[in-house]
Symmetry: C2
Subunit: 437 residues, 2 copies
Amino acid sequence: MAAGYFHRGLSHTRATCELFVRRLPRPRRYLVANEVEAAIDAALALRFDDDDLAYLRDVPGLRDALTPELEAYLRDFRFRGDIDAVPDGTLVFAGAPLMRVTADIIEAQLFETLVLSMVNHGTMVASKAARIVHAAAGRAVLEFGTRRTHPAAAIGAARAAYLVGAVGTSNVEAGRRYGIPVSGTAAHMWTMTHDDEVSSFENYVATFPKGTFLLIDTYDTLRGAERAAKVAKDKLRGVRLDSGDLDGLSREVRKILDREGCPEAKVVASGDLNEYSIDRLLRAGAPIDTFGVGTELVCSKDAPSLGGVYKVVQYERDGKVVPVGKLSEGKATYPGPHQVFRRLDGKCPIRDRLTLVDAEPEEGEVPLLVPMVRGGERCSPSSTLDERRATAMATLAALPPGLTALESPTPKAEMYPVVVDAPVQALLGEVAKRHRG
Amino acid sequence: MAAGYFHRGLSHTRATCELFVRRLPRPRRYLVANEVEAAIDAALALRFDDDDLAYLRDVPGLRDALTPELEAYLRDFRFRGDIDAVPDGTLVFAGAPLMRVTADIIEAQLFETLVLSMVNHGTMVASKAARIVHAAAGRAVLEFGTRRTHPAAAIGAARAAYLVGAVGTSNVEAGRRYGIPVSGTAAHMWTMTHDDEVSSFENYVATFPKGTFLLIDTYDTLRGAERAAKVAKDKLRGVRLDSGDLDGLSREVRKILDREGCPEAKVVASGDLNEYSIDRLLRAGAPIDTFGVGTELVCSKDAPSLGGVYKVVQYERDGKVVPVGKLSEGKATYPGPHQVFRRLDGKCPIRDRLTLVDAEPEEGEVPLLVPMVRGGERCSPSSTLDERRATAMATLAALPPGLTALESPTPKAEMYPVVVDAPVQALLGEVAKRHRG
């Protein structure tokens, strides 16, 4: 496409593209935008070096299109346009953009796949993690899923979980890269490579004499709990159960810890947990203090993909501004550049309004898309992960049951309202008429 | 754990660990091992530099354990042990190891998470892609899913799909890194930023005068097909449909292409395809030549995680060899180091036999785990991706319906037999008795 725009004299077409999600994956009631800012930074960093060009020259279909002139253009390539977007941690809904890009058309188009990949994956995991943190109802959530996803995706998943309120991760590289607290216990291997469980606990406590957690389910969870308490005594910060009936076992283990003089020791539970099982455990009254959540969180197992798309909404050529929409079956998009205005009740989103970009906010509305890049330069300093986390957690904590319920919304009735402004509707009608007429 | 082994004088314990999958995720009937060799290379490359140690020193729980002696050990760390494993592209089943590692215990344990992450993700995607390629029954499959997974996972997914028979990918970085053919069409944006579809096709054909594919569903698929044929004529290598009723549209489009003098032009279909929809389309007789498959493939959407685990099976200390197994509820593992012998009918796997490592093959059996690393050095040259692909494709093509059927196997009856050798069973009994007695 870049070659086509370049060779056909279209490269200075000015285009506006928007990234949005057409439908929330069931049973999501909201999404938490994530990796938007990292995606913008990756887009700004996009360059073509000699190796890149040498490879492209060798791709069969591209050889003829990659003329010296196009190579010179690509060597000099960098994004010089404008980007408005929602900050990471913002609640977003279907049908309203999270990002708007305006630039020369090749610049607006070349990073489409990279940006979608980052935002789709990051938003998918953050949105799942938010449900899990909500279900934990104030108990701690630890991200434990590295081994169940790609190593690079795992680092991103740890960050996503932390953004929405997880208290730590077992992914040490994520800890280093993002300053996320790291946490974990020994594996069963530790216990299994000792003559018996008691000596394995003794050796672990001797290694961490200021206090530690012990994994107690290698052989028999209840005997493990007793041994942990007897060996570690006041050094026992907690025990971890990773198998079996977590409800029943956590109650028995709690009793044992209290009886054996470890009332401060926490009960950590893990093992294929998700928002539903955590909710059930807590409703049943299971005395679990911390949930280690892995597979379900990092894979967003019940909704393992997010279909965010990046679509052109307007182009401008020879002084003529042309709003455009895609009219394909079931994939229609609103033409024209948009803003989203949100009405809030305190920190709680009440309603979004999709408007054309030049619309004015009504009283009490805030714009969701904020300037991130102007003329190819970041114009908003990236806030820190901890700042984004505080904002996201405050918003999530303020949500009403209609947004936090774990089940799918009853069609329409319970869905968060995204109102489409009349001028947006009118423009869609005009564009449809132009193409069908 | 490493600190514990080190400080408690256990670092020279010799340990054997095995990587295996406990249960095939429904509805898988087989898995295709993948990223095993890359994981081994990553394990061999594991080092600790000054920055790593500085970070670890700052982790609250680790500060005291990270003594100068342990730091010196970690600075000098590299894997010096032995690894046997199945080559990438090998068919594997539940309960039998894909990898066996024997080394000093810290070396055997430190890379557990990294190796699991790589093998679980790679094997999950390759196994899903194999089902999709099988369903396509000889029609071409292109991997189109980059935008629906993490950018690094996407590159791996393109390689996984190619390993099991996909003919190409739209991921240009995967093309460059692994020599995979790259393929794709313009996006709808190309058409939408022209005055009309005809001029967009004219400009695209002018850019690729040796021939090209055109995306025809931006406005009206059938009119798009006519325009594509009229504009491109004998330059039309094919058309792509990305929405709507692919069965009906592909028939109409085929007729139009034939009528308009483009009988050689291919019909490429995409849009949330998976093995089931491809199977239905082909059974119905849809004249589709190439399937572009994205989301479902890269996310393995119906089984979006793979639970491969890495467990210690034996340790040796003070001259004493101790086979060990985990006896947790529902998570039991066979103690002792294992080999897997496979009986083949031509290239088709007939039955696996899990044996202790020193067992002899029966006539006609081949060992699945082959030496990959001895004393920390690769001892088998990595074969090329194309060699692995040829082997994997030949095996997959030889599979009987009992293995290739898309639905879950009827419990037991249709499951691929993995026979557990009597000495393996006996050893499990002994270990259970030791711990319970």
